[in-house]
């Protein structure tokens, strides 16, 4: 079959274009995509038959086929008549294969729009010819541009409803031109289409004789690809996995983010800065001479140098920067707002580190592009903030003027440490200067010396529990018993710290986190000084207790859960606080109108309903001495 061979040979040369479509709820986006699938023969007879029967049942086009039903996948959507999540569609022309991220239009799903746009080369913005450029159109242009899309198509849809008249089309183009200039969108084209009837979708339409530009499909066939731009940049590859099947082979597997690599190239490993040479590019079918951006490869080195998952391999003459403090744009994607100061997982490339976000510098009003003051970011909010990571990471600025974005080393996500949900995505701008200049002071008399002089192993006994659980009482007894045995100790008590170090903090969630962070830092300094530190704080959130645990060397953080049921603590109510909280005089009171997250694996758990404070203190001292 020569025809098939010929066709297959042509297929081998096909390129891949990813694009996203965005528009307001009623702009006919799903209909247009359905139409593209139909015109490029992606719809089979059985699907068309199902579509015809579905159109009669749920359709909004009367007797006509409702192409939107092809695209709106989930049953909930079909019932509501709207698209609620990102859906991926596939079709091909003679020249290219296309992956379409179809994203919803309404405001509350900004996160899905950003998701769909994150991997796209181009955005198709839908506008209704009768309605023109809406707030949604501006918002979507801004968001798509924000995540690095540089090529736009303004598809002026429903031309059939304005009698294919040039007037409305010109007015909309002019209006968009003014806006595009403001946000830096330079490469864009307006095309008059009708998704319903197919005008200018796959072929130029007679109905718009006044329009001489390409059809939508022609334009998608010809637009340049980001992957070609990535190949021209310096070589970078995040290491995904170290392939070590036996003693004789050690390969570093990953997908090339940018540039090209060949055997003999001098490379640098980041963040360590160690250098070596590429020995081989290993592949099942035989070694490759060269590999390029986008390929997944396995590299071997000329020397035995340290390199592991999360490291970045880069051309040694032009490596990326390494830093631990950044400015970044954040798009918040979770129902729970950003908590400045809380530790989140930050994943960038294949690196996962702990990161804290400062209070935002500002939030961006996507409709007016104004900068607003903000203390936090809520779902779908976009803001600019400083971020600190707990160790150095290799990175590149996400946005590059006049080129494709550095998606791999400039994009990141934030992950909640407890729920593991992806709560935000972000784009790195630049490293902060102070991160370059401030190096931790190397001290000649170190923590080991401090501890050795005192003849003890430092530790932080972290008492946590409800107000009135008995934390301070027990911690006091423990300190007395340790002092009696000649141990050097210090007790940090919640009430005392709040009168001094932390008197500027209140009881909001953010303030409580900052309170614990400061106490944690002080406890760590004291442990560095060789002391056994006891802290007695409600410390209601697991994430913060875990944050302090991570500040200390393995084994030095001992969590003591003073487990007193709420009813019992409330009955004791030594300070009369529960009564006040119940009366509504105290807000954000743990156990009443603010949650307490009990430890799941505390080193020591004290059941105060089963033992006295004296017994509890003995138990803790015994456990403490056993551990040292």
């Amino acid at each position: 079959m020569p025809a098939v061979r010929e066709w297959l040979a042509a297929q081998e040369q096909k390129e891949l274009l990813r694009f996203t479509t965005c528009g307001s709820v009623d702009d006919g986006k799903s209909t247009l995509i359905g139409r593209l699938l139909y015109e490029t023969k992606q719809i089979f007879d059985d699907q068309l038959a199902a579509l015809e029967s579905d159109s009669k049942r749920h359709g909004t086009q009367g007797e006509k086929i409702d192409f939107a039903l092809l695209v709106d996948g989930l049953s909930a959507e079909r019932e509501q008549g709207i698209t609620i999540d990102v859906a991926y569609r596939y079709f091909a022309s003679e020249k290219r294969k296309f992956i379409v991220a179809d994203t919803p239009g309404h405001e509350q799903y900004t996160r899905n729009m950003v998701t769909g746009a994150s991997s796209a080369d181009l955005a198709v913005l839908l506008v209704d010819a009768r309605k023109g450029v809406l707030t949604q159109t501006r918002r979507h242009s801004y968001l798509a541009h924000l995540v690095g899309i540089r090529r736009f198509v303004l598809a002026v849809n429903k031309m059939d409803l304005v009698d294919y008249d040039q007037g409305p089309f010109d007015a909309i183009s002019a209006e968009y031109r003014a806006f595009a200039g403001k946000i830096g969108v330079e490469d864009w084209i307006a095309i008059p289409v009708s998704g319903l009837n197919g005008d200018n979708v796959a072929a130029s339409s007679q109905a718009t004789a006044w329009y001489s530009g390409p059809s939508l499909l022609d334009h998608l066939n010809d637009v340049p690809l980001d992957v070609s731009a990535d190949a021209a940049k310096p070589f970078r590859m995040p290491v995904q996995w170290v392939n070590r099947p036996n003693q004789d082979f050690r390969g570093f597997a990953g997908q090339i983010a940018s540039g090209t690599v060949k055997a003999g190239d001098d490379i640098r490993i980041l963040p360590s800065g160690r250098e070596t040479r590429i020995e081989r590019i290993v592949e099942a079918g035989g070694d490759l001479a060269e590999a390029v951006a986008g390929q997944s490869v396995t590299l071997t080195f000329a020397d035995e140098v340290d390199c592991s998952r999360g490291n970045v391999i880069a051309v040694s003459s032009d490596p990326p920067e390494v830093a631990d403090q950044f400015e970044a744009t954040l798009v918040w994607m979770a129902d729970e707002p950003l908590l400045p100061g809380r530790g989140y997982w930050l994943k960038s490339g294949t690196q996962t580190v702990t990161a804290t976000v400062h209070e935002p510098k500002y939030e961006i009003n996507v409709n007016s592009l104004e900068h607003l003051a903000a203390k936090s970011l809520e779902l779908n909010a976009i803001g600019v903030a400083e971020i600190a990571t707990d160790r150095d990471i290799a990175f590149e600025p996400y946005a590059v003027e006049g080129s494709s974005p550095n998606r791999v080393l400039g994009g990141f996500i934030l992950i909640d440490k407890l729920s593991n949900a992806t709560v935000a995505c972000g784009m790195l701008h630049f490293a902060l200067r102070r991160a370059h200049n401030i190096h931790r002071q190397h001290l000649d008399v170190g923590r080991e010396t401090h501890a050795a002089l005192k003849g003890q192993k430092p530790a932080v006994l972290w008492f946590t529990g409800l107000s009135g659980a008995g934390k301070s009482t027990i911690a006091n007894l423990v300190e007395q018993k340790l002092a009696a045995r000649g141990r050097h100790t210090f007790l940090l008590d919640g009430d005392n710290v709040r009168h001094g170090l932390n008197r500027d903090l209140g009881f909001t969630e953010a303030d409580r986190i900052e309170n614990i962070r400061r106490v944690g830092e002080v406890a760590r300094l004291m442990a560095d000084a060789g002391l056994i530190v006891m802290t007695a704080f409600i410390s209601p959130f697991r994430a913060e207790r875990e944050m302090v645990r991570k500040m200390l060397p393995e084994g030095e953080f001992i969590e003591v859960f003073v487990d007193t049921p709420l009813a019992e603590a409330e009955k004791r109510d030594a300070k009369g606080l529960y009564a006040k909280a119940r009366a509504g005089e105290l807000k954000n009171f743990t156990g009443i109108d603010s949650p307490y997250e009990a430890p799941e694996d505390a080193e020591i758990r004290i059941d105060t309903t089963a033992m006295s404070a004296e017994q509890a203190a003995d138990l803790i001292v015994d456990e403490m001495l056993r551990r040292s």
């Binding site: 297959l8 996948g73 995904q240 597997a253 992806t422």
Partner: protein
């Protein structure tokens, strides 16, 4: 060097996903169903971890009702060096003699959905690769590449994690798991083109041959063994047929075809007018929302 073709880029993306899972999961497994998608996924995995062996076992969740040729293919793969293949049958379904003739939707539910959950729990697998593609079915089009499942293996389409760039969030708590779909962005045509390009062996059932068949409810079913029940008046007829998708033989519809090679299949697809899932009786259980419902219950 010339720029990457669409197959090159699909291959690179799938390999990235396979490696990312192995790097982040504690105990991954690859669901292996002997079909063309499984064959492609296995081939990609071998490339991803070359020159090392596969860093995970294959798991076949068996229903006892697959085609004989599929069991032969499974045994051929299991015998290859470096392959560990686990076959699992739900003991309850075995005990009750669950079959596609008497039990309708319960057949899929007990053998496949329940069987899969049991096998994953039994071995403590926390990430399972599946060969599903987004182009197969509407509700699949919205599923993530890394699809989070709760302790009961349930999928919640409203609480999916946003998936940006190629940053996959594989983190989970104890007892929770991930279903990972490395072929998410492939189409049926991509799969066949890749099979051809790479010379991947697939089950002969995909190629046309004279086979004993009956016609029932608009499907051509193959009489693969003596357990096939015939309705009154049904006659076994030899037809030259092939299969576009494979499953339990009494539920898999064949198409009449002369395509005897991968090239023939691709030629036929170009002229084809029906989608591949059309031959699947199981999608029809509850109207067009059937797959979404199954997935929420824990089906792949």
């Amino acid at each position: 060097m010339s720029s990457l073709t669409h197959l090159d880029r699909l291959e690179a993306e799938s390999i990235f996903i396979l490696r990312e899972t192995v790097a982040e999961a504690a105990k991954p497994v690859m669901l292996y169903s002997m079909g063309k998608d499984s064959a492609v996924m296995l081939h990609l995995a071998r490339k991803a971890f070359f020159p090392g062996p596969l860093p995970f076992p294959l798991l076949h969740v068996d229903t006892t009702w697959k085609f004989k040729a599929m069991y032969a293919e499974r045994d051929r793969i299991a015998a290859q060096a470096g392959v560990e293949l686990i076959a699992y049958q739900n003991p309850e379904a075995l005990d009750k003699g669950i079959n596609p003739f008497d039990h309708g939707p319960l057949h899929t539910d007990l053998w496949k959905t329940e069987g899969l959950k049991q096998a994953l729990d039994l071995h403590g697998f926390d990430a399972a690769f599946g060969g599903a593609r987004r182009d197969e079915e509407k509700s699949r089009a919205k599923e993530r590449v890394f699809s989070f499942r709760d302790r009961n293996h349930r999928w919640d389409p409203k609480r999916q994690r946003p998936e940006l760039w190629s940053l996959y969030n594989a983190r989970k708590n104890k007892g929770e798991s991930m279903r990972v779909f490395p072929l998410s962005n492939w189409t049926e045509l991509d799969v066949w083109q890749y099979v051809l390009r790479e010379g991947i062996e697939v089950v002969p059932l995909y190629f046309a041959a004279a086979r004993p068949t009956v016609e029932r409810d608009g499907l051509i079913l193959m009489v693969d063994d003596e357990r096939m029940r015939l309705d009154p008046g049904e006659r076994v007829v030899m037809r030259t047929v092939r299969f576009r998708t494979l499953g339990c033989y009494p539920l898999s519809g064949a198409v009449e075809s002369e395509a005897a090679s991968v090239e023939d299949i691709i030629a036929e697809m170009l002229a084809s007018a029906t989608s591949e899932r059309q031959g699947r009786a199981i999608d029809r259980d509850a109207g067009s929302a059937s797959m979404e419902k199954k997935k929420q219950e824990g089906y792949f």
